[in-house]
């Protein structure tokens, strides 16, 4: 780089630029927070949904599945599982029916031995997640 451009100038661009864009990011975050109540389906977060989220976390579901496209890519997207599997009954039926020893040669979800209350909570959580208003209604289609 030429001599006219000094190290002090480079340093000032670093500090000034970083600070400016950090503040811009915080402002955008603030604005996003004001818009989220209309989008993030927060009115649907009940005790049951919160319990479902804890179970989702406690069993590391994200280690195989994606949820709104984030997670692992080993098993199907679950942001729209409520719609794809045909509501809560479909979700509960699927989770319950997983064979304990898996399926020879194929991927299979483990059998978690959830109680009925836990199954209901997980289904409620996935129902809540499916009703979050994502931009362009992502995912692109029912297959996730």
């Amino acid at each position: 780089m030429s001599q006219a451009f000094t190290k002090a100038m480079a340093r000032n661009i670093f500090y000034g630029g970083s600070l400016f864009f950090l503040l811009l990011f915080l402002a955008l975050t603030f604005d996003t927070q004001s818009m989220l109540p209309d989008r993030d389906n927060r009115q649907a977060i009940t005790e049951k949904v919160a319990m479902g989220k804890r179970l989702w976390e406690k069993n590391d579901c994200i280690g195989c599945h994606t949820l709104l496209g984030e997670g692992a890519y080993f098993a199907p997207e679950l942001g729209n599982a409520y719609k794809r599997l045909g509501g809560k009954a479909g979700i509960i039926g699927f989770i319950k029916s997983r064979p304990k020893e898996g399926i020879p040669g194929r991927r299979s979800m483990p059998q978690f031995n959830f109680t009925d209350e836990e199954l209901d909570a997980i289904a409620e959580f996935l129902k809540y997640a499916s009703e979050i208003k994502t931009a362009r209604n992502w995912p692109p289609n029912i297959q996730g």
Binding site: M1, T6, K7, A10, R11, I13, F14, G17, S18, F21, L22, L24, F25, L28, T29, T32, M35, L36, R39, D40, R42, R54, W56, E57, K58, N59, D60, C61, I62, G63, L68, G69, E70, G71, A72, Y73, F74, A75, P76, E77, K100, G102, I103, P104, R106, R107, P110, F112, A129, I132, K133, T134, A135, R136, W138, P140, N141, I142, Q143, G144
Partner: protein, 468 residues
């Protein structure tokens, strides 16, 4: 090695390499599970193997960063480390906490681990990359604070160089942003929103400062180019990193319930994220071309140049590939993401840690400046094997991803996820083979520490050959 206390870095580097081997073995298990679905089921289900794979990566890179700091900070500050004893103590705390956590993943079901460690008191587990029990997270904070204190005291009471300052800013940022891992609201959108403040602002923010400063240090040492020149470059590169990378977080806010305008902010800013990586490539090659000396440790120079190229390809090019919102609408959460993740992590962070290890280890093991010729040749073989195979892993995953996106999301009649997975399994097989070649490269890498250690070292300081 100019200061005795720099040698604590050796512990950290040895641990890093050991955990690296573990990470790759679990990667191979995962790769096999992609094609033989019931492999090791139900003993080690996919999610457990994946936790081990990704967490080992994070932990060994942190060991690498800390080792790098302990090695280069005293030399830059021109004084001994504030407390070598604290550095050794924290090493064992971190290693034991890490080992217990991984054993916990493997030996008990994850939900039992959550119960055992009292996750209900402060639920932070079960989120991607932040799977560690809350108590482990607290341990990480303690280790980070002790580490920053040690490094900070050394830097502040010594010569203040740009390399040290940038490294310190990066490390403080790393520690501060990790605190967001304790925020886990019931609101899924907010959970995701701030989860990225750890994940994105680490790897596309403050970690790049750490990367830049380590690379700058090794280039100063191996090329003999004037520090002023290198420091100016460093400032410009990290300026571009944060200017593009902070708002670039928006490329994760397209489809998670956040407002539509993020598609613009995210696309525009993250489209510029390759710029600092490109500058890094230009910078590294420029400095090596303008070298005032031929450093005898040619392996270290190779790693440094490799970092610059592969970081640009993996983070820059493969990131750009799917970062624009209209593209990401189809590729989000597909094998394209996995492809990018593999090459970006290897190219940027794995390689920079291997660069500083390559540069520093010979001296910590009693050499003047470099290993013997035999050892360096073997190390360079490992460089090429690992680097070429990660390129192939990335290409195969990209192929898998393109097909997946087409069959599952783009075609007239979208097919179910699992059906698509079977159709693209050929690519997963090829990826696994490339992974095996990577393992061969890694074995050679480890072997290079033991080969030719009695041979004379490569001649120190041949005649300076300043080229254009």
């Amino acid at each position: 090695m100019q200061y005795q206390s720099q040698s604590v870095a050796k512990l950290y580097f040895v641990a890093a390499i050991g955990l690296f081997v573990g990470q790759i073995l679990f990667g191979l298990i995962l790769g096999l599970q992609y094609v033989i679905g019931d492999f090791l089921f139900p003993a080690i289900p996919f999610n457990v193997a994946r936790m081990v794979h990704t967490n080992l990566l994070i932990v060994w890179l942190l060991f690498g960063f800390m080792g790098a700091a302990y090695y280069l900070v005293p030399e830059e500050a021109e004084r001994e480390l504030f407390s070598p004893g604290l550095a050794k103590l924290l090493f064992w705390v971190f290693l034991i906490a890490g080992a217990l956590t991984v054993l916990g993943y493997l030996l008990v079901p994850y939900s039992s681990l959550a119960d055992l460690t009292g996750n209900d008191l402060l639920p932070t587990m079960g989120r991607e990359f932040l799977e560690q029990p809350t108590i482990t997270k607290l341990g990480i904070v303690v280790v980070a604070l002790g580490f920053l204190f040690n490094i900070g005291m050394t830097i502040l009471s010594g010569r203040k160089t740009v390399v040290n300052l940038v490294l310190l800013i990066g490390l403080v940022g790393l520690a501060v942003l990790f605190l967001f891992s304790f925020y886990n609201p019931d609101n899924l959108v907010n959970d995701k929103y701030y989860w990225w403040w750890v994940v994105h602002l680490w790897v596309e923010g403050v970690w790049e400062l750490i990367l830049g400063s380590i690379l700058a240090f090794v280039l100063i040492k191996t090329t003999g180019v004037d520090r002023e020149v290198i420091e100016k470059w460093l400032y410009v590169i990290i300026a571009m990193t944060l200017i593009t990378g902070i708002v670039g977080t928006g490329h994760h806010y397209y489809w998670i319930g956040t407002p539509e305008y993020w598609q613009w902010w995210g696309s525009v800013f993250s489209a510029m994220e390759p710029i600092p990586f490109f500058m890094m490539t230009v910078f590294a090659f420029n400095m090596v071309n303008r070298r005032r000396r031929n450093h005898p440790n040619q392996a270290a120079v190779l790693w440094a140049l490799g970092t610059a190229v592969m970081a640009f390809l993996g983070a820059g090019v493969w990131g750009f590939l799917h970062t624009l919102a209209p593209v990401n609408y189809y590729t989000h959460g597909s094998q394209i993401t996995a492809a990018h993740g593999h090459m970006a992590f290897y190219g940027a962070y794995v390689m920079v840690v291997l660069t500083i290890i390559s540069y520093a280890m010979p001296m910590m093991r009693g050499r003047q400046a470099a290993n013997s010729n035999r050892s360096q040749v073997l190390e360079m073989w490992s460089f090429w094997l690992m680097t070429v195979s990660i390129v192939f892993i990335t290409l195969f995953l990209t192929g898998a991803g393109i097909l997946q996106v087409y069959l599952q999301r783009f075609s007239e009649n979208p097919m179910p996820f699992m059906m698509v997975q079977e159709k693209i399994s050929l690519f997963y097989w090829l990826r696994e083979i490339a992974g095996l070649v990577f393992l061969v490269g890694l074995v050679l890498y480890v072997a290079s520490f033991f080969v030719g250690s009695k041979d004379p070292e490569v001649a120190v300081e041949q005649a300076a050959s300043p080229t254009a």
